[in-house]
Amino acid sequence: MLIIDCPYCGKRPEIEFSYGGQAHLARPQQPAQLDDQAWAEFLYMRTNIKGVYAERWRHARGCGRFFNALRDTTTDHFLAFYKTGEPRPTLPAQHERTT
């Protein structure tokens, strides 16, 4: 089981959380003005990188809040947790693999 460090409540077991997908996606301001290709890109296309991934989590069975986490998808280790709206933190160089 993963231990997830909720920015509000502290360290809690994984089963209290639900996964929210890739973080830092901005919904287009005027969806009606997009063509189908651009709308599909927003709805469905995710980076799915091997390396450090910024993703959303929700403390569904706790404080109920969404927050963001950086997780290395190759090791499943969490590297940082931060509140929604805060910028993505920079990590020591050895973690910044994005390929």
């Binding site: 509000y8 209290e16 069975r61 404080c63 109920g64």
Partner: protein, 183 residues
């Protein structure tokens, strides 16, 4: 099949370690610091700024559930409507949401030297006194049920359970407790 009487009144058979609490008035208050400051004098307890902490006083309690979400408990069910009205009056036009959930859930109390161990049979939190001190409260999981867990004394836990989960939660706790008690 359970008849109407047993379905409408969730309760646990009273034992030395597990008992269902009498009915209580319950509210959930969503609001920022200004709304909480307005509600605090009417409610009679402070609203904890620290995460996962409860404040108590005069038979009432305010439990931190989220950064702007509090569970308000009052032992006085009779004044449920009057309490809601006075809180609404104090909150006025401040942005807030006050919801009466008195009848959505019921409360259990688990006490005794095995209380934390019994809960650990279904709850994944570390319930050691150093990690989960007196006065700490949180929404969490008890097996497949969502509960609010609140440590009111070293060996006493208060559980808020949604009423439709009453049979599941009390049955599960009794089964776990077989290891320690003759139930």
């Amino acid at each position: 099949m359970a008849d109407a009487t047993t379905r409408s009144l969730p309760s646990a058979a009273a034992t030395q370690w597990l008992m269902s609490m009498p009915p209580a008035a319950r509210f959930v208050l969503h609001g920022d610091a200004a709304a909480r400051a307005a509600a605090a004098p009417v409610w009679g307890t402070a609203f904890a700024e620290q995460a996962c902490r409860a404040e108590i006083g005069n038979g009432r309690a305010a439990l931190w559930l989220g950064p702007d979400e509090y569970l308000l408990l009052s032992a006085d069910i009779e004044s449920e409507a009057a309490l809601a009205a006075s809180l609404e009056q104090a909150l006025g036009d401040l942005p807030h949401a006050l919801v009466n959930i008195s009848h959505r859930q019921f409360a259990l109390e688990i006490r005794g030297p095995h209380a934390a161990t019994i809960l650990s049979g279904a709850c994944p939190l570390d319930l050691d006194l150093a990690e989960f001190p007196i006065g700490m409260c949180t929404r969490t999981a008890l097996a497949k049920a969502d509960i609010v867990l609140w440590r009111t004394a070293a060996e006493v836990f208060h559980l808020e359970v949604w009423r439709s989960f009453s049979g599941y939660v009390t049955g599960l706790l009794n089964e776990i407790a077989l290891e320690f008690h003759r139930v």
